[in-house]
Symmetry: C2
Subunit: 326 residues, 2 copies
Amino acid sequence: MTEQLKMEEAIGRLVKAEDVLLLCHKNPDGDTIGSAGALFWALKSLGKQAAVLCADGIPDRYGYMELTPFEGQFTPRYVVAVDVASIQLFGDSIRDYTRQIDLCIDHHSSNAGYALETLLDAGAAATAEILYRLIPSMGVHLTPQIADCLYTGLSTDTGCFRFSNTTANSHQVAAGLIGSGARLEELNTILFESKSRERIEAERIALDQLEYHFDGRCALIYLTREQIAESGVEPDELENMTSLPRMIEGVQVGLTLRQQPGGSYKISVRTQEGVDACAIAQRLGGGGHSRAAGCELEGNLCNTKAAILAEVERELAAADKEREQA
Amino acid sequence: MTEQLKMEEAIGRLVKAEDVLLLCHKNPDGDTIGSAGALFWALKSLGKQAAVLCADGIPDRYGYMELTPFEGQFTPRYVVAVDVASIQLFGDSIRDYTRQIDLCIDHHSSNAGYALETLLDAGAAATAEILYRLIPSMGVHLTPQIADCLYTGLSTDTGCFRFSNTTANSHQVAAGLIGSGARLEELNTILFESKSRERIEAERIALDQLEYHFDGRCALIYLTREQIAESGVEPDELENMTSLPRMIEGVQVGLTLRQQPGGSYKISVRTQEGVDACAIAQRLGGGGHSRAAGCELEGNLCNTKAAILAEVERELAAADKEREQA
C-alpha cells in the first residue's frame, strides 16, 4: 500500500532526489507530458540529471517543451510517475522501469496506490494544478518554459476551460501561468486549433453518414474499419470525435460507432443531462459515467445499430417517465 | 465628441440613473447581451426600472439570463449602450432610441465616440471584464444571475479563453465569477458545445467540397447560395465556420467562400503567423487584420476561386522570400 504524502514531504523528496526518471502514461495527453515536462525543467534548474519516459514516445506536437527523452543515458536513482492512475497505464514496453515507482503525483481519485509514496489531490482539474503549487516551493523560479508545460497540462485536461472539472482555482492557475510568461496564443493554436488532414477526412465521411433517430433525440455516426483505413486517421485522433453527435441541438443521446481492427464495434454513448449514458452501455456489457459511457459489440453494422438503438429508445422512454413524475 | 469617463464617474451616473434603457449591437453576441444582462440585474437590484433592446431581439440561447426586453413599457430617461463600437451597429429598426446615448461602456479601441459620455477600456478582452469591476462598486452584490451574464460575455469574446485577446485578468475574472456562482457547466454546454442541425448539414456540404492547393499550404471550402438554402442554415451561424480550413495541419491560408443572396462571393481569409491575410484581401478590394481578413467578389465560383487563389499564391511566395531573408 502506498504512503500518502503531504505537499511539503513530496517537495523534500524531489529536492533531495538525483538522476530522476519521469514516467508518463501510454497514449499520452497534455497533462502527463506537460506535468513531466514542468518537473523536468524544475529538476534541471536545480542542477539535477532528469529525463522523461513514455511507452509511446513524446508526441511531436509537444516539441516546444524541448524535453530530453530517457534513452538509458543514466541509471535512474529516483522514479516519479506523473498523472498515471494505475500501473497498467504505463504500457508493457517500459516495464523494466516501472518495477519500483518511488513517487506518484496524480489527480485521479481512482489512483490505485501502486507507488511507494503518492501525492494525490483529487480536487485538482489536472496534475499540472498540483505542480503549480509544488514547483515554486522547491525553490524553483517559474520560467516561461515551465509555465508552457503547466499550461499545456491544465488547458488540455479542462478542454481549454470548458469541461465541468474546471474550477475557480483552474482559472487562477491559468492567470498565474500567463503572468509567468506562458505563450498562450501559440499553445492554444497547437493544442486546440489544429486537426490532421486525415482527421478532417474521417470527419467528412462520418458526417456524410450522420443519422437521426427518435425525432432527432438521438444522432448516430459511424466509421467502418475500411473507412478508417481509407481516411488514414490514427485511432486516438478519433477520440474527441465522440462529442460531435451530442453537440447537435435537440440531441439527447449522441452515438459514435467505430469498427475495431478485429471487426467488432466500439460504441461511445454521450448524453445530455437527464438521460443515463451508463445505463444504456451497461445493458450491453459496457459501463462508464452518467453522461459518457461505452460498450463494444460483435456483429455487423446493421445488428450493432439495432442493438444500441433499442437500448437508447428504452432509456429515452425511462427518462420521459421520470420527468413526468418529477 | 464624447467625454471619456473614469470608472468612478460612470458608477456615479448609473447609481443616479432611473428608467434605464440598455442597448445592444445588432447581430448580438454573448458580450453585448451578457453585459446588458449584468447591468440589467444590477440596476434591478437597486430598485430601478430597466430593460434591454437589441435590433435583432435577444436570441433564445441566452434565455437563461431572464432579461426583460424593452417594448415601450416605460419612457427611457437614461440610455446606456454596451459593447457597441459605432452608431451604425445598432441597426436601423431601433433608430428611435439611439438618437441620444447618455453612456457607452465598451472595450473596442475603434469606439467612434458617439455617446455623450464613454467608459472605454481597450485592454479588456470583453466589456464584461469592465463590468466585473464596475458592478460591485455600484454597491451591488454579484449574484449567480449576474455572474452567469458576465461569464457569458467573457467566455464568448475570448472563444472560451482560446483567443489571443485572453489575458491573465480574463482568467482572474473567470475565477471570481465561478466563485460568485456562475453555472460553468450549463453555460459552456449552451455556448460552446451546441450546433444546429442546419449548421451541421452546411458543414457536411462544405467538407465534401474541401480543396487543397499549393501542396496543402492552402485549404478552401465554399458554399453556394443554393447549398446554403438547402441546408437551411442562418447566415450568422456560418461565421465561425471560417476557422475550419486554417485548422488543418500544414495549412497556412484557410479560405471560406460564401455566396451572398445577390450572387457575389464573400471570402474569409484566415492565415497562420507569417502570412499576411490583410495583404491578400486588400489586393481584391477588401481589408482586415494580419491573420483574419476578407473581401467580396462578383463573378461565378470558378472565377472567384481563380482570383483569390492567385493572390494567395503571390502572398505565400512573398512569405517564403521574407523567411529566407530573415
